[in-house]
Amino acid sequence: MEQILEMVNIVKTFPGVVANNKVSFEVRKREIHALVGENGAGKTTLMNILYGLYKPDGGDIIIAGEKTSIDSPIVAIEKGIGLVAQHFMLIEPLTVAENIILGLETRKNKIFTDMRKANQKVKELSELYGLEVDPTARIMDISVGVQQRVEILKILYREAQILILDEPTAVLTPQETKELYKVLFSLKEMGKSVVFITHKLNEVMDISDRVTVLRGGKAIGTVNTSETDATQLASMMVGREVLMRVKKEGKKLGEAVLELRKVSAVDSRKLPALKNVSLEIRAGEILGIAGVQGNGQTELVEVLTGLRKATSGEVMLKGDSIINKNSRSIRELRVAHIPEDRNKRGLILDYDVADNLILGPHYKPPFTYRGKRNLQNVWQNARNLIAEFDIRTPSYDTKAETLSGGNQQKIVVARELGGDISLLVVSQPTRGLDIGTIEFIHKRILELRDKGVAILLVSAELTEIMSLSDRIAVMYDGNIVGILQDEEAKEEQIGMMMTGISKVDALRGEESD
């Protein structure tokens, strides 16, 4: 097969780290090439170099047999390279078509953009590649999955031959992931090449033709997907065997820690998002919340952690009402919270790692005494957590924004799991983490459960919910459709309930098959 792009011996160093150490990487025409590796292995850095966002310290990029230097995204686009970063760069109030043509507008009469033509063109493009979008919808009104399609259309509109997708599935629901697969296959059929970064090895096995593994900034090797399996890839990535599923001990239930009675709340657009939700979590128990994103999970978590007001109902924590208390007084009651979006809620990217690791208990000893900060203790805390959770950072006073995505997530997890707690509310705790780290975090969550902590786990990963939870509540349209015991929970049944079918019907449906 024809090779269309080659990166040879790429070197990139940042203060204190060698992010890429003589990495060689090639892309062929008509292939889906997966790029995998641990958090901080250098995947994003390598792709940013290819897209002209970073200048490499050494090495060559060869396109169509010619040595090329790509010093800006503009050059990259000219060379047919397009990048969809994990965080979308769309302009919210503009429409889909406006976002796609931005910078390349066709003009009707020198001044005004010809939107009719633009909408038409976007429509044609979306039909051609099977990327269904409504050209006139505003970005802020469409789901994350559709936004991603817009990003892909944007680079296709610029006639990219090589599409780079950085962890595209981290934010997608399983259905959306399936749809993305279809799109990628059809792009391949049309002769395009796709570079696909992911931490999920089943995705690698599902769609890629070849896999390149990075570890510690070095390329470990490139293999044909058909000649490998997930276990082998895992050990190439981590350098040791990885348990793909953690073992769970029998549960020892204690008293009820959290009780919700008929809690209702509205979302940011003032529409009902939680409708009379009641549930209970006992000490030593993990309650998983399954459901397609946007069915009230976010609002549920926000009400519990004091970030959103409930409109009615009651929330009791160990017998005390905590409804509509502020987040500090809830944290004071030994509640920890891992928010779903680390950049939005979990981290202050401009603060260094040490300052991020105290966010929450920062105002009390040992970090603050009578209003004065004790920096020695702040740093000591950072050194401990960095070692314990293996956060890859040059030092504790490195700004959080320069860490790799997964290592940023580790900061949040380390901070929230590190303390003495009685209730843990976690949303998407392992989004963007590599498998070794997921295994580690899952173990830590189970350890807390065994120590008698009550845990509410929200996750878009059904496998994560199924392997950790003692009971699984399925949410649909602001309601809890049903609660399943761990033993009775089957993936198909949960899937059905996620579309709003009640537990009884879902069980019956299964029997009749």
């Binding site: 970063a85 950085d166 502020n326 809620r345 603060y351």
Partner: protein, 354 residues
Amino acid sequence: MTNTRKGKCAKYFEVALYPVIATCLALLVGVIIMLVTGHNPVDAYLALFEGAFGSSVAIAETLSRSTPLFLTGLAVAFAFKCGLFNIGVEGQLHVGAMAAAVVGCYLTGLPAIAHIPLTLLAAAVVAGIWAGVPGYLKARFRTHEVINTIMMNHIAIALVSYLVVHVFRAPGVIPRTSTILPSAQLYRFIEFSRLNIGLFMAMIALYLIYYLLWKTNVGYEIRAVGHNDKAAECAGINVKRNIVMAMVISGMLGGLAGAERIMGLHLSFIQGFSPGYGFEGIAVALLGRNHPLGILFSAILFGALANGGFRMSMATAVPTDLATVIQAVVVFFVAAEQLAKLFIKRRKKGRLAE
């Protein structure tokens, strides 16, 4: 540890480098303007330098001109650390000055040791409340503080004009209040100069704000809100209270700047006494990178340009406006550099967000 310290030095150097370059470039632009308009730049700059730093009195006068700028620059920077643009320092300075003039004049029978602190306190409190209003509106209703502080500037200046013309006016041609009592006057410690102990007050303020921002929990929370209010909220920080508090403290600094002018320089509230100290504070904060140490230097630079510019226009035929032009060009270059930084950051965003 040594590694960290070295990193810090390098950082300070880098932070200081651009403003220095900007200043040099601005002086160069001044040369070009003078050459084009037919003046001798060497003579002019010598006069400027001489006027600013040529004698101990000149230095004292430069520092006197810088004194309010330390405080107004600090006021702008402090609000900025909480993510707020306080454009209203000018108004806060005016109401603070008026409060100082009234308390300094009408509160009788106190020794200086009590009268001075009380007068300063009055200025700080009134100006703090004045700034707290847009802070509260922002926290409660999310109305933008830029609009509100600008409007409050107009209200403040109209209000104090009314007070000085109709309520507290002393006899005489210029609208001014009666001279404040000696017990409220700030001690001038250099002969032939109006430099007063307000300078030390400003230095203490610079240090205290530095300490507050980086060594205390209050500062940690204020900066957290400034960087990412959503994450701050999630960490249990009361975002609204911090916004109001940051505006109040910022306003208090502006009020103190006004008080120093009244208690140490003019000794009464004179209508139109401020050449725009509050607005200059925005430029000072920008050039000083919103850091107290940077503000120390940039306020002195601006004070020197204003003070030396006067001498320059007397000694050579170059108008004082040239000093103003240089100030403006310095700000321009610094702003351009910030813009360039912003642009680079935007380009990097792709990876940052990942």
